[in-house]
Amino acid sequence: MRKSIMLGSLLVASLAFAGGAFAADKIPVGHLACYTGPTSDVGGPFGNGVADALGYINKTGGINGKLLDYDTVDYSYNAPRAVATYKKWMSGLKPVAIQGWGTADTEALVKFIAKDKVPYFSASYSGHLTDPTGKSPKTKTPAPYNFFYGPSYSDTCRGLVQWAADDWKAKGSKGQPKFIHMGANHPYPNAPKAACAAYAEELGFKVLNPIVYSLKPADAKAQCLTLKDSGANYAYLGNTAGSNISLLNSCRTVGAKPQFLANVWGWDENSIQAAKEAGDGVAVFVGAPTWNDTKPPGMKTVREISKMSDPTGKTYRNLHYMRGICSTFYMKEAMLIADKKGEITGQSIKAAMETMVNFVPAGLEGVCSPSTWTSEDHRGTTSVGIYTSLYNGGDFQLNKQATIEVPRRPEWLGW
């Protein structure tokens, strides 16, 4: 009996710690990571990239001497827990900027961060986080304090479709090419569905009925047979890497061989290794140079950052890790600009972000793509670098095909 009473008091005591106070003279930053939960396969490396970058910024002198006071919280892809963490931060840490993760929690926080004026750097690249004013007719809620590094899901898909149209011509194929969207019926795969289909139709594709396959890795032979029967020439894969591996293996078995096009979270080094030959030729948007590519000058900094959690420097970091670093370094640069002008607050960081034109963070040249944010357009970049992958017996290759500059049409804002 005494034990349960003691346990009870322990519970209360530890809870008191949870809302404890933090140092005030530093720059408080929140980091919402997804180390556990359904999207941890890609959320882990991305979160590591952010955490290492934050540590590296402090190690190299912070923001003009002011250190970051950051708090990493794993929210297990659970939106209510993300909101709870946000409330905890706002009552203790009071972050001036937050590095976040998924679609549902980012959208749940859009209104909160707009009210509290906290810039939020998400890893959800959903198109409707790109309209800060709410002018676009497609926008339901303006997202003035949302930022993300990279082309939106819709723009990525548009870029891939554009490439597919060029590919069709280059190969000298005859007739009308057929495009199909594949993905689970979930917010994330569906985000670019309508926008991408509209553009595909505009480019002369025949858009077929979408095929649904599970976000969890599972046998997908039935879906592959449907795909084969449909006669699609280009198939967009909207799911994350794990489920695409099983899909491609199933499709290889049944002999469905369209040109696959994968989203940024849908194909990476791990999946190339796991899918082996079944994944050969998948065209994917790659948002960063690979770990072993030492040509870009910025990779030196990346390797230094990686030493924050791996002093030996031997761990292979995948593409998501680099993108996590870029996301953090744009925030860092915005803080530097804000600090030069005056105080570092949520508002001044937002203002600083919106002054960036074709901007690349110092030290990451060749790693992060030049990005532009304005007070009316939060599409950081619309440039989509497309690669095809080759398993090559384990020594995989990512071969660059093209860089598609998706036009910044005003009617596409927020879509």
Binding site: G19, D74, P80, K88, K111, P187
Partner: protein, 354 residues
């Protein structure tokens, strides 16, 4: 007779039927309950939003969990689809508010009624089967509704999800935690009092009879199908109101959130709290909401900013939640409500327990 309880008694003597069915067995219990509500009424003035947020979470999950406890704990049925009804209530309230412009104040009970209607429909087949078959039937409703959420764009906004406006009565908005806390507190008090009273009524006794021995209940003249369906309906009403409160608090409803995982979590809440106990439901919900937060704080303290350590500890934290449920099943299968009664008994006899 009331003064008899002001002394320390060595037992409870009930001399009338009213005394036997009273909600609070002793005046002390009644006063404690009233004082806790008064304490919670002033709490928003000195608690920070983080604690209020946890309180609000316990509130809306607790209401939904009480609904599940009515089906599982009181009527002895099983439901694996509770999260879907919770989600239906969330979408229904947002949809009502967005399409008709009706103030959220009215949308929440209406969403509860819509969810109840749905629960009654789902309950029609479910009321005629039991055991594993019922588990599978409710699992089916979970998946059917989940799929409905991501397809029915007119209702849920499809895969984009739906925006939910803040709670308001004729222009006055309850848009921060302090204000919303009162809304949730109001619903918790009303729904829990309703739930307790229901269990004292003819229908409540019928539920318990169905649970304890369905054959005997039927012989006594209880219409099994009717009460099973009714139980599902009432459970859905609670889930719908909990879901609606959840929607207007988060401000955004996404189909991603109402998976089988949440259904299992609701089951975890009532198993940890105590099947067939109204107060246990609240204790179990508090446990499930607070455990990850306490673990998170522990991870933060031990991890001390090292990212690899925080990541490793994150897995341990997730495992600890599973471990807690297993430990409860082994050592305290009657739940926190039972543990609470034992603590009370201990203090009642303190220091001369034998």
């Amino acid at each position: 007779m009331a003064s008899a309880h002001s002394r320390m008694n060595c037992g409870e003597f009930r001399t009338t039927y009213q005394q036997d069915t009273t909600i609070f067995p002793t005046p002390l219990a009644r006063r404690t309950a009233i004082f806790s509500v008064i304490f919670l009424l002033v709490a928003p003035y000195f608690l920070n939003p983080y604690y209020l947020n946890l309180g609000i979470q316990i509130g809306y999950y607790g209401i939904a969990a009480l609904g599940l406890n009515m089906v599982v704990g009181f009527t002895g049925q099983i439901s694996l689809g509770h999260a879907a009804f919770f989600g239906f209530g969330a979408f229904a309230s947002a949809w009502l508010n967005n399409t008709t412009g009706l103030p959220v104040f009215f949308c929440i009970p209406l969403a509860g009624a819509m969810t109840m209607a749905l629960g009654l429909i789902v309950g029609i087949p479910a009321g005629r089967i039991k055991g594993l078959y019922l588990a599978i039937a409710t699992l089916a409703s979970q998946y059917i509704l989940e799929d409905f959420f991501s397809r029915a764009e007119w209702f849920t906004g499809g895969s984009y999800g739906a925006m939910a406006n803040p709670f308001s009565i004729f222009g006055f908005e309850f848009d921060n935690d302090q204000r919303y806390f009162y809304v949730v507190l109001f619903y918790v008090v009303v729904m829990f009092l309703l739930g307790t009273n229901l269990m004292r009524s003819r229908d409540g006794r019928a539920f318990v009879a169905v649970r304890d021995h369905y054959l005997s209940a039927e012989i006594m003249g209880i219409n099994l199908t009717k009460y099973r369906i009714l139980s599902f309906g009432i459970s859905s009403l609670y889930a719908g109101i909990g879901g609606a409160l959840f929607a207007h608090y988060l401000g955004f409803v996404s189909a991603e959130g109402f998976t089988i995982g949440l259904s299992i979590q609701f089951l975890g809440m009532i198993i940890i709290g105590g099947l067939g106990s109204v107060m246990g439901t609240l204790l179990g919900t508090a446990f499930m909401v607070l455990l990850p937060e306490v673990m998170e704080a522990g991870v933060g303290l031990i991890g001390g900013g090292s990212s690899s350590l925080i990541q490793a500890l994150a897995y341990i934290r997730e495992m600890a939640i599973g471990l807690a449920i297993i430990l409860f099943l082994i050592f305290e299968p009657d739940g926190l409500a039972h543990r609470w009664r034992m603590i009370k008994a201990y203090w009642k006899l303190y220091p001369f327990s034998y």
